[in-house]
């Protein structure tokens, strides 16, 4: 008698990859199930794990049965006379009828074994999915991933320090390399020297897939190294924020390419300012869901939506009861190099460095111009740079005193360094293959986890879906809004309690009886 309590129910193992798309989604943070429910969930998952064990044991018996069959003239079992049971029981071979029966038995037993093995996997997956959906499965980076990540950080730190120590030429090199990389991927594959061969595409895709899990370590090391190489410009900070501060300085002061304009002009966008000559079709309708709100941001990019560069949307929604709420849609970077609007690489760096930036200033001005009241909930939805800006505003002292923030949604945005206040539902959507969301040096697992703050990450390369696997090798596609909308669809489809809860809290603010949308364009100007 040891006095120990009842044994803990077994924990189902995750299914072996590649996974069905919904199984490639991992959720961090949020409110899981209540304690009383979690016991029941764990018991149920434990039961199916035991079923899986029984089914595997049954499959092993079937395989044993198939191996007990002796087939004359065949190697293996038949080659060891006396080692196996024989139908005649005395060691002499049976006739042709026995051979046929033996073969039929062997086939039937193997078929049963295969079916039971597959069923055991299915049962394991059922329990694993249940625990995950309830927030009771502890997701962890493998030891190998952590070890490689540490090496990558060290290497990137050394590279960043070397570049930072080279002064302007090195820092400009970092900037140009980064800008060139982003621009090259954004503008298209034609920048590969006109020889956009299958080999180039394949190697880029393979590199993206291979390096995606370690991109957070690359940026953490590089940022820290650059910050250490230029301590004055980094203001003594040696982590990502320090490196970003150094590079933001470069973006402002770089000869010819830099832009140090400190002023900002925010103007209302007219229908004729859009390439189509009309406002987006959804302008008069509230978003039906968080996914809908996210998808609408595509209308704010010059390329996909024909909007003027640096445009944000502010939608006013009035409910049947007259209650007013607001949704602000914020697109991402539209120029890797410093531009005449704040949706550029300079703002990305300023946001990462925690410095004053044009994007959050433009959003605040748009809120003022729209007449948002202090008690009217505002939901901020941002993609990429827009996501960083949205999270930054929420964290900025005084913002939540001026505005009642009803929720923040970010897609493909590095927000791990931003501390958001409690009580405001925050949803982050990320994928490692997009790289961008890891430029804060944090993987999705390392984002702050609170009851109100949920990060949903989808590892595209682990999916059985051909579309997902192709997207995994394409940074632009992995970063696209459609990819993040699909991630949220899959997470909600799995019934994950944490995603459902945060999405419902935010989604309740989006729809209403009537809606009207105003578009604002921000431009950098000399003060």
């Amino acid at each position: 008698m040891t006095g120990a309590g009842p044994a803990a129910p077994p924990v189902p193992e995750p299914p072996a990859g590649p996974h069905r798309p919904s199984d490639t989604v991992t959720v961090f943070g949020g409110a899981g199930v209540a304690a009383v429910e979690s016991d029941s969930v764990r018991r149920a998952a434990g039961r199916v794990a035991l079923v899986a064990d029984d089914l595997r044991a049954a499959a092993a018996q079937c395989l044993a049965a198939s191996e007990d069959v002796v087939l004359p003239g065949i190697g293996g079992a038949a080659a060891t006379p006396g080692a196996h049971w024989r139908p005649d029981g005395v060691g002499s071979w049976a006739g042709p009828a026995s051979v046929l029966a033996a073969r039929a038995l062997e086939t039937a037993a193997r078929n049963a074994a295969q079916a039971l093995t597959d069923r055991a996997r299915q049962c394991d997956a059922l329990g694993w999915r249940l625990l995950r959906a309830a927030g009771l499965y502890e997701e962890a980076e493998s030891t190998a991933e952590r070890a490689v990540g540490a090496l990558v950080t060290t290497w990137a730190f050394g590279t960043g320090t070397a570049l930072g120590a080279r002064g302007w030429s090195g820092l400009a090199g970092v900037g140009v390399l980064g800008a060139g990389e982003l621009a090259g991927r954004s503008v298209g594959r034609t920048l590969t020297g006109g020889v956009s061969s299958a080999l180039t595409a394949w190697s880029a895709a393979a590199a993206t897939r291979a390096l995606a899990p370690y991109s957070d370590e690359v940026f953490a090391g590089l940022g820290a190294g650059v910050g250490l190489g230029q301590p004055a410009l980094a203001h003594g900070r040696v982590r990502i924020a320090g490196g970003a501060a150094v590079l933001a300085h470069v973006a402002r002061e770089l000869p010819v390419l830099g832009n140090d304009d400190r002023g900002l002009r925010v103007t209302q966008v007219a229908p004729e300012d859009f390439a189509s000559g009309a406002l987006p079709a959804w302008s008069g309708t509230g978003a039906g869901s968080v996914q809908d709100a996210l998808a609408r941001i595509d209308s704010l990019y010059p390329g996909t939506g024909g909007a003027p560069a640096g445009t944000v949307a502010v939608q006013k929604v009035t409910g049947h009861d007259g209650a007013v709420s607001w949704t602000v849609l914020v697109p991402g970077t539209q120029s890797a190099l410093p531009a005449d609007h704040p949706w550029d690489g300079r703002t990305d760096l300023e946001l990462m460095a925690g410095q004053a930036d044009g994007a959050t200033a433009a959003i605040e001005q748009a809120l003022v111009n729209s007449g948002v009241g202090p008690d009217e909930p505002v939901v901020l939805v941002g993609h990429s740079l827009g996501g960083i800006a949205a999270a930054t505003l929420l964290a900025r002292p005084g913002f939540t005193e001026r505005y009642r923030v009803g929720g923040v949604v970010t897609a493909g945005a590095p927000t791990g360094l931003v501390a958001t206040p409690p009580g405001v539902p925050v949803l982050h959507l990320e994928t490692p293959e997009e790289v961008v969301s890891q430029t804060d040096g944090r993987s999705a697992a390392e984002n702050p986890r609170t009851r109100d703050r949920v990060t949903v990450v989808r590892t595209l390369q682990d999916s059985i879906s051909a579309i997902d696997r192709a997207t995994a090798g394409d940074v632009v596609a992995a970063h696209a809004l459609t990819t993040h909308v699909r991630t949220l669809d899959l997470a909600l489809g799995s019934g994950d309690a944490r995603v459902t809860e945060v999405t419902e809290r935010i989604g309740a603010r989006l729809a209403g009886a009537t809606a009207s949308t105003t578009y604002y364009r921000a431009e950098r100007v000399d003060p």
Binding site: V33, A57, D68
Partner: protein, 84 residues
């Protein structure tokens, strides 16, 4: 263990006995699976889980048919041996 095909159990050199043991294990598993459907959680994930367990139970019933087929084959095999 998960994801891999199990190693054959140590046989008693009698395929019928091994299959009978498999049948016993699957029957127990089926009962456990039905019991596992009961989860006190009012949430979409629990609904999905119950539906998926129901589907798994139906799948195990099909697996049982394969197992019974194997047992019939074992009986036929034994019969040929007995008459050889």
């Amino acid at each position: 263990m998960n994801g891999a095909c199990p190693a054959p159990a140590r046989g008693g050199d009698d395929p019928a006995a091994a299959l009978a043991k498999a049948l016993e294990l699957v029957a127990r598993g089926t009962d456990q699976l039905r019991a596992a459907m009961a989860v006190e959680w009012d949430a979409p994930a629990a609904e999905l889980y119950r539906a998926a367990v129901g589907e798994a139970v139906r799948g195990v019933v099909q697996d049982l048919e394969l197992l019974e087929e194997a047992m019939r084959r074992a009986a036929a095999y034994l019969a040929t041996g007995a008459t050889a």
